[in-house]
Structure formats: C-alpha cells, structure tokens
C-alpha cells in the first residue's frame, strides 16, 4: 500500500461535487460518486467525476453500482484515457459505510483514493481531504483497514485558471453572489493594470514604513524587492523607444487593414444585393 501517494485535483471536480451536493435528494445528507483520472508515478491526477445515487440506512448502504459502471462506460467514449481512480463523498468524516463503499471501489481499481469535501462547513471551512485505505491488524488475527490521510493539492490547465478567475468575480462583498460577464480583452488588461498599481502602492507603503523605522526590515522581503526592481530589462532609452514605436506602428497598421477589410465587406454586401436581373 503506497502511502506516498499525492492526489492532485482539478477545479472541475470540486465544482461538480458541490453541484451534486446541492442537488441531492431531500432525505440524503451525503452524496457519493466516482473519481476519474490517471495514476502516474505516485501522483493521482483527478480530472473528472460524477455522482452515483445511493441510500444510507443505519446498518447498511446501497449504491447503484450498475449506474456507476454505465456512466463510466459513457465517459470512456468521450475520453478514453480517464480511469476510475477512487471515489468521493461530501461531509467531514469517514463513516462505517465508507469502508464498504471503499471495498467495492478497490475491486474496480488498484489503489482507490477517497476524497472528502466538507460541504457541511464544519469549522467554518470547506476542507478538502484525501485518504487511502491501509490494512492493519495482527497477522493471523482479524484484519481491518484504516483510512489514512494523504496529501491533496490542486492542479489545473492554463485555461482552467482563467475560467476560475472569471468565476471568482461572482463573489461579492457581504457574501451575496452576483453575475459576471466574460470580459472584453481591453477591459481585462485595464483591470490587470489597476491591480498592478494597487499592489505597487502596498509595496511602497511597506518600504516607507521600514525607512521611517516604524516596521522591522525583513531580509527575504528585501531580496524579493531587489529582484522586482531588476526585473525590468536594462535597455538604453533610445533602443527601447525604437522598439516601442516599431511595435506601435505595426499594430496600428494591422488595425487599419482590418477595419478596411470590414468596410469593404459591407460595401460588397450592399452591392451584390443591389444588382438586379
């Protein structure tokens, strides 16, 4: 049983889990489902997941395993590289029922991981935890198993981060959610510029404090600041001005051409529609 597994989760999986939890049946407190992904050199990368209907009674648990198999097959048609790597559940603790479900999943894949997302918000946080099942017990005695926590982190494709940052804007102050529209390019650059300027202000404030001996200087921060200042390339003013004007001229020319083409298209449209037989 490899205890040095790390689990990397994609944001899509978490979105899916929260959505499944919100859509659960009125009488369930927990939802479970299958995790899909790949296992490579001790790192389990979870790229997808889906919910499996299940019912929990006091002493037994029923999960629709045929359903799970079917949906897995359907998903394989779209993405053949995703395999079952484990299962997920909402809630903040591992219950007796979990071991039953985990046993089923260990039949499906070699080393299932169990991920929990704490949607009940115990401790005022939504904790993300991952476990593997380790056999323990005395030899020749009754064997049991224990869920041991493993490291879990987040991994993402580049566009996923972009999507995440856009979705993040729906969080408004005061906890209400609001709507956000995908932004035009220029607006995004403008926003980044204002971000940079506010970050620079904070840094300047800190420097002022240190210079006025109101705050203790910190070596690590100082080194970072030095790196920051030297990050700007050292160019002679003239060569930079040349490069800059060349770039601007190129871009302006392309903009002119593009607008010219658009105007011509509209003219062409009018003319062809005007011709009569």
């Amino acid at each position: 049983m490899a205890l040095n597994l790390t689990v990397k989760v994609h944001p899509v999986v978490l979105f899916q889990i929260v959505d499944a939890y919100e859509r659960r049946n009125a009488d369930s407190h927990r939802v479970i489902g299958t995790l899909l992904g790949t296992l490579d050199k001790g790192v389990v990368e979870v790229t997808n997941c889906f919910c499996v209907p299940h019912k929990e009674h006091a002493d037994q648990v029923e999960a629709e395993l045929n359903y799970a198999m079917d949906v897995y097959e359907l998903n394989r048609r779209v993405n053949a590289s995703e395999n079952i790597v484990g299962w997920w559940a909402t809630g903040n603790e591992v219950t007796n029922h979990s071991s039953v479900i985990h046993e089923y999943y260990s039949r499906e894949c070699r080393e299932p991981v169990h991920v929990t997302l704490d949607t009940s918000l115990a401790g005022a946080r939504m904790g993300l935890r991952a476990y593997v099942c380790v056999a323990l017990g005395v030899p020749r005695g009754k064997q049991g198993c224990m869920f041991t926590p493993v490291d879990v982190g987040l991994t993402y494709y580049e566009p996923e981060v972009v999507g995440l940052q856009l979705c993040r804007k729906t969080m408004a102050a005061g906890g209400r959610s609001r709507q956000v529209q995908p932004m035009v390019d220029l607006a995004q650059v403008a926003e980044a510029a204002s971000n940079i300027s506010s970050l620079l202000e904070k840094v300047l404030e800190y420097i002022e404090e240190v210079l006025a001996e109101r705050a203790l200087p910190n070596d690590a921060v100082g080194r970072e600041l030095l790196e920051l200042v030297s990050a700007l390339p050292d160019m002679v003013a003239k060569s930079f001005a040349d490069a800059f004007s060349a770039g601007v001229k190129d871009l302006l020319m392309v903009v002119t051409l593009a607008q010219l083409i658009k105007t011509q298209l509209q003219l062409n449209e009018k003319l062809t529609l005007l011709t009569s037989q």
Binding site: P11, V162, V180, V255, A258
Partner: protein
Amino acid sequence: MASRGGTSRRVPENEGAITYVQCDGLAVMKIVKHCHEESCSNMEVAQGALLGLVVENRLEITNCFPFPKHDEAMDEEEYQLDMMRRLRRVNVDHFHVGWYQSADVGNFLSQSLLESQYHYQTSIEESVVVIYDTKKSARGFLTLKAYRLTPQAIAMYKENDYTPEALRNLKIGYESLFVEVPIVIRNSPLTNIMMSEISEMIPEEEGSKFLDLGTASVLEGQLRSLMERVDELNQEAIKFNRYQQLVVRQQQDKHRWLLKRAQENAARAVKDEPPLPDEDVNKLFKPHPVPPRLNPMIVAGQINTYSQHISQFCSQSLAKLYLTQALQNAKDGKQNN
C-alpha cells in the same frame, strides 16, 4: 457591466425571446476542460450538449456533457438519451437547451454549424449555440459567446433558396445570420465558498499569461487565415461576375435574335409569304443557373469575425505596450535623477 439588451429589439414578435444566457460556473469549467483536452490531443472541434431550463427571459445553463467523436460504430442519439437519463437520476436538469462547440479564434461560421443550429432551433425554440474560443482562452482571455439564428436565417434555410433575389427579399446579409446573446456567469453561494478555498491554493501569479507581450506569432496566424478567406471570397466574387457577364451577353443575343426575326418577318410580309413560326425564345437561350450566395455569405461572415478579432487583439497589445513604456519611463526617470 451593463448587459447588451440590444438583441431584444430584433425579435419583438417572439414572446419567449431570450434576452440573455445565464451559465453556471460548473458548465463553464466543464466546457473549458473538454475543449482544452480536445485541442491538446487533436485539432478537431469539440462538441457537447448544454442542459438547463428557461426562466422568464433568460436561458439558464446548469450542466453540460461532451459528445464522443464521430464514429460509425456509436449511435449519437442513443448516447445523448442515455446520458440525459443518467443525469436525471442525480437530479440534474435534463432539458436539452442547446449545444456548444470549440473554435479557433472564434471562427465558427460554417455550413454544418448553420445546419445543426437550424435543426436545434426548429425543434427546441430557445436553443443557443455556445462557442468557446480555444486559442484565445489559452492566451488568457476566456471567451464564451452564445449565438442564435435570426428569424430571417431560419426562413432562408427553410426555403433552401440561396439566390440573390431570395436573400434580398429576406434582407439578409452575413451580419444578420446570427444574433449574439449576452452570457452572464453565476455561482451559488456554496460554490463561492469552495472557490475561496481553492484560491488560497493557487498562487497569485497564475493566470497572468494574458499580459504576455509577444504578438508576432498570433498575428501571423490570424492574418494568414484572413488572407485565405479573402482569396476564397475573391473566387466567389469572380464566379458571380462571370455569371453576370454571361447574363448580359445572353440578353444581347436574345435581343439581336428577336430583331432579326422581326426583320425577316417584315421582309416576308412584303413578299406575301407566311411569317416564320414564333419559336420559344427561352428554349434557344437557356437561362444560366444563378450561383448560390450561401458560401460567399459564410466566407464574408468569417472574414468579419477575423477582422474583429484582429482589431481586438491589436488594441489590447497596444495597451500592454503603453504599460511597458510607462514602466520603462519610470525606471529611466529614476536613473536620471
């Protein structure tokens, strides 16, 4: 940001008109993941179905699932029905409200897309097609746009008649094929909580790829595609001109033939001979077939999209260049002091 409600004045007679599309964060992330994975492995477009429901004047998209790649062995209808049935078991909205497709530089206009959207919109009134721009989103600007066919486009497609007269009667041009519906993204409070958890795990400087200054490669690609499209449009225009010249020449021939006939008849009348029988003019000069205008219209639409994208790209590159100039000036100013 003010949402563009301009689309509402285009379809006043349709009471169930959708003024905007509301997308759940989940659907957005799933679309991003699917299209990104497809673009990494092969160059084919990624397609999938959108699920949700219609509430008053907005179309809510709550979930989506990808379509498998085209394969003769698999039955697409069956896959869709199967998938939707399974999702219904876990209380996901199973009303099929549209479909999504990935596209390069948002260049999605093609005959197959028109056909698919036509079928969707005739069977499901409010369906939209959501286009995800792979290259642009990989550069750092998430681009999701929703489109619907205009009523004129539907009428035109129904007739299957692409002659210039038909297009003129419908007053349709490449700009009035599709109407864009604004998209907003919305998340439930629980999802917001989850996102604040995640954002602690992601370092601040991720996702700043859009501040990249390099423009050459992107511009080259876009301009090359633009040139190809313009060549295509040129070919179509030449075809149309040739047709028009043929028609003119044919008219002149007809005219001359009629004149000759009239003269001969007059000469015979003088000699007291019976006039020549009237032959059907049209049988002698068969009318040339009118070249269909659908392809030029589609190509014109593509060129329009390309030039819009290029302008947008250039404007934000200009902004970034000015930013660097400001930083460099600040540095020079400090050095000179």
